[in-house]
Amino acid sequence: MRRYFARKLLIYGLTFVVAVTVNWMIPRFMPGDPVSAMVARARVSQPEAAEAMRTYYNNLFGFDEPLWQQYLHFWGALLQGDFGISIFVFPTPVGDVLLDALPYTLGLMIPAVLLSWFVGNWIGALSARRKVLDNTVLPAGYLLTAMPYMWIAVILAWALGAKAGWFPISGGYSLDIQPGWNGDFVLDALHHWVLPFLSLFLVALGGWAIGMRNMIIYELESDYSSYLSALGAPQRLIRRYAFRNAVLPQVTGLALQLGVLVAGALVTEIVFAYPGLGSLILAAIQNQDFFLLQGAFLFIVIGVLIANFLIDIVYVVVDPRTRTGMAGGTS
């Protein structure tokens, strides 16, 4: 067991280092110079003043150092939990900007990921044994899973928001409400949450349902099922075995899909002007805000790694073979 987790942790550690390094590199190789943009925005006309300002900012953000030093400092600051100062929301620390946005993204992502997984598997498993259901779920599932996130988001916004008027189509909460822990705000935030949640949920749902349906059919046709059936075991029992085997690849799939889902959530947020990380990332790119971009990606990398780690733990729980393997390994 210990060796299993040690190996996993090592892999996650390495992934983290590589991901963070790539994160650090990408904005620095984007075209354009954020300090020039900042100085230009300040509309400083006098060359000496512009030069003084440029020097100041270069120094502040550490752009006057050689790249390798910037890289080392970046790690040093990062380990102290310092993500730097945002250029776009100058001079707010990136950490603060991100923490304001994070609840919205998590509040959207986590329910969408989990509920779509559970509901998708459930529908998929049901449809595998009912012809009528299969005939409707399969095409619907393919349609949903093939839809780009923003497309379904726009359709939902149009149908349920603009036409039916049931849900607001933008923002995380109404204009006249201030965030706080009270009934008014929570209800209002939930109301705004429905459409972005639905668009994420529906796309993911289709994929899981199709996957589960196919897995169940495969398992039901496998040797052990036929054997059980020949022994005269009840259909219910056979299906239960099939389900337990079929769900394992789905758990793996969840780990693999997380990155895609995050990307989907970002796009969805932009469509609904939802005040989460997605809108921030877009703004950071447009404003060449290296630090905000870095920080946002870092949060995402950490989030995906943690989720994957949790899935590894879950795997140990749901798949007895992992435990047997580990027991064999340690003895």
């Binding site: 943009a37 400083v44 001079p91 706080g180």
Partner: protein, 577 residues
């Protein structure tokens, strides 16, 4: 068996849920503390003004010296200036100052109003003013250039500030008087230079009519101060108790929110605004074309360091090839007005030299453009329909506008088509805005469109934008085309030294500059961008308009516009019910 399976699935679910709640719990907690000091519940709709169009991201700071990225209203609602400027009348109106006058050619004295207090109860004194202007001495300060011609700002007594000048730039000084915010020395005096210039200043204490109530990622909420000095001294009270400025979401979202009456004022360009106005969904300054007041001029900027744009004849031919009428009608649906050949905004009409324009001004005329090109020696030697350079090499220019600026992208296509009719090959390109800004600063372009200079108290700011010398390695704000003309720049400086009440003197100086401008055509004026302003009347009425009896102020919360009528608009609003 059955129960065990269920148990396992439940365990898995529990792990997930735990993780989920742990994450959300942590995140929300942090969001709460990082967010606001605001109380829960909603603001009363009939006392709240919702605005958008100025802020494009989270409110960044409340530092009035950073008038390019502070939260909307920091300068104007919280921090105030000595004067305001009334573009309609073309003159300064005393604000914090009771009066101001030149006591001799190089000394300016400001008398402050008495009885003005900061939000913390301390009185505003002449020392605060001297201190605030003195902050420009910090080298990295954005208004450091002021101190190259100002030599001293001194508090003579509690209500008198005396400014002495090395070089009296009267035009620019008036501009400074209504542009520079006054901050409290008793709070700012102990701050480091760095904190002064770059601090967040998250508890702004100003003399203004509003104070900060709360802020979140996508909005800032201002609350009226009922003890504001202006209520008594100016007999003005801004009508909304709360002002909520929302970061600009997408155009579709803004149009939706206007339609539902959630937003009261949008100061953003909305494609198709004319149809919204015609169908009475929103109101604007004019109820027919051009719908909006003019706020700035969009110019076609040729890079005069490149051939053939270094040739005035070529630039004139290019100017005559532009079909501005088509842009105004086709691209903007008449939301904008075609610019005059001088590019001077309608508010500056009195400075146009009409006789000169009749003689040297240009209009859209492809035939004249062709003639001009032929006379200057540009010929189509290879018969492809486009003229070549004088040395026979291929001539092909690229017009760059930022990607995503759909109106400008369309306008660029119209310009390219017009140039083609005149025999000039112009292609369009749409790079990323930041990349384009950088290239523009370095002079690495053929043609760009720019409109960064706004309406002000004097056409001097426009001529400074067109002619400023010397050309630097990096041109951040002015003279992007790197046009060098010593004589013109001398005339501009001379205009800067004309007293602002000497209209005849200003006209004479401007006329000479216009002569050079129309002959040399360093920039080609295209159209007047509007003071985009779409408002709804469900909650607030009495918006500025050209209708009789309606207020005439400029309805904008844009940076530096609160002093040019934006604040006055707030005081003239009336609740709908």
């Amino acid at each position: 068996m059955g129960t065990r399976t269920r148990l396992r699935v439940t365990t898995a679910l529990a792990v997930f849920t735990l993780a989920a709640t742990a994450c959300t719990g942590g995140g929300s907690g942090a969001g709460g503390t990082g967010g606001t000091a605001g109380k829960g519940g909603s603001l009363p709709r009939n006392e709240t003004l919702y605005t958008t169009g100025t802020q494009w991201g989270p409110p960044a700071n409340y530092n009035p010296l950073r008038n390019w990225d502070h939260a909307t209203g920091t300068k104007g609602l919280v921090y105030e200036t000595l004067f305001h400027f009334d573009p309609d009348e073309g003159k300064l109106t005393p604000w914090l100052a009771e009066s101001g006058s030149w006591t001799d050619d190089k000394t300016y004295e400001v008398k402050l109003r008495t009885g003005i207090t900061w939000a913390d109860g301390k009185p505003l004194t002449a020392k605060d003013v001297a201190y605030s202007y003195g902050l420009g001495k910090i080298e990295a300060s954005a208004f450091h250039s002021l101190w190259s011609w100002l030599s001293d700002a001194k508090a003579v007594d509690d209500t008198t500030v005396r400014f002495t000048f090395k070089e009296a730039r009267y035009q620019e000084w008036d501009y400074t008087l209504y542009g520079q915010p006054v901050v409290p020395e008793h709070i700012w005096g102990s701050r480091t230079d760095e904190d002064v210039l770059n601090g967040v200043n998250d508890k702004p204490v100003g003399t203004g009519a509003y104070k900060l109530r709360s802020k979140t990622q996508d909005r800032v909420v201002w609350e009226r101060r009922d003890d504001w000095w202006g209520t008594k001294a100016l007999s003005m009270t801004p009508a909304p108790r709360y002002i909520v400025d929302v970061s600009n979401p997408s155009n579709e979202v803004v149009i939706g929110q206007l339609g539902q009456g959630q937003l009261d004022l949008s100061n953003n360009f909305l494609p198709g605004a004319s149809s919204l106005i015609k169908s009475k969904k929103v109101v604007s300054y004019y109820d027919k074309a051009p719908y909006m007041l003019s706020a700035n001029t969009a110019w076609l900027v040729p890079n005069t360091t490149k051939k053939p744009m270094d040739d005035a004849a070529f630039r004139r031919a290019l100017a005559a090839s532009v079909d501005t009428g088509k842009i105004v009608k086709g691209v903007y649906g008449e939301l904008v007005k075609p610019a005059s050949p001088t590019g001077l905004l309608p508010q500056w009409e009195q400075f146009e030299d009409k006789a000169l324009i009749a003689e040297k001004g240009f209009t859209h005329d492809p035939a004249a453009a062709k003639k001009e090109l032929a006379e200057a020696g540009y010929k189509d030697t290879n018969g492809d329909g486009f003229v070549e350079n004088k040395d026979g090499s291929a001539l092909s220019l690229k017009l760059a506008v930022p990607s995503g600026w759909t109106d400008w992208m369309e306008a660029a296509k119209v310009i390219a088509a017009g140039a083609k009719d005149a025999g000039i090959k112009v292609t369009t390109e749409f790079p990323d805005q930041n990349a384009l800004n950088e290239r523009r600063g370095k002079g690495d372009f053929d043609l760009v469109i720019n409109n960064e200079r706004q309406l002000s108290n004097t056409p001097w700011t426009y001529y400074d934008y067109i002619f400023q010398l010397p050309v630097q390695k990096q041109q951040n704000t002015v003279n992007f085309g790197r046009y060098e003309n010593e004589e013109a720049w001398k005339l501009v400086q001379k205009l800067g030294g004309v007293k602002t009440d000497d209209t005849a003197g200003m006209k004479a100086a401007v006329s000479k500059i216009q002569d050079i401008q129309l002959t040399e055509m360093p920039l080609i004026p295209l159209w007047y961008n509007g003071l985009w302003s779409q408002s709804t009347t469900g909650t607030w009425t009495n918006w500025p308009s050209d209708a009789e009896g309606a207020p005439k102020a400029a309805p904008a919360l844009w940076r530096n516009w609160l002093e040019m009528g934006g604040f006055e608009t707030l005081t003239q609003l009336k609740p709908a019910k």
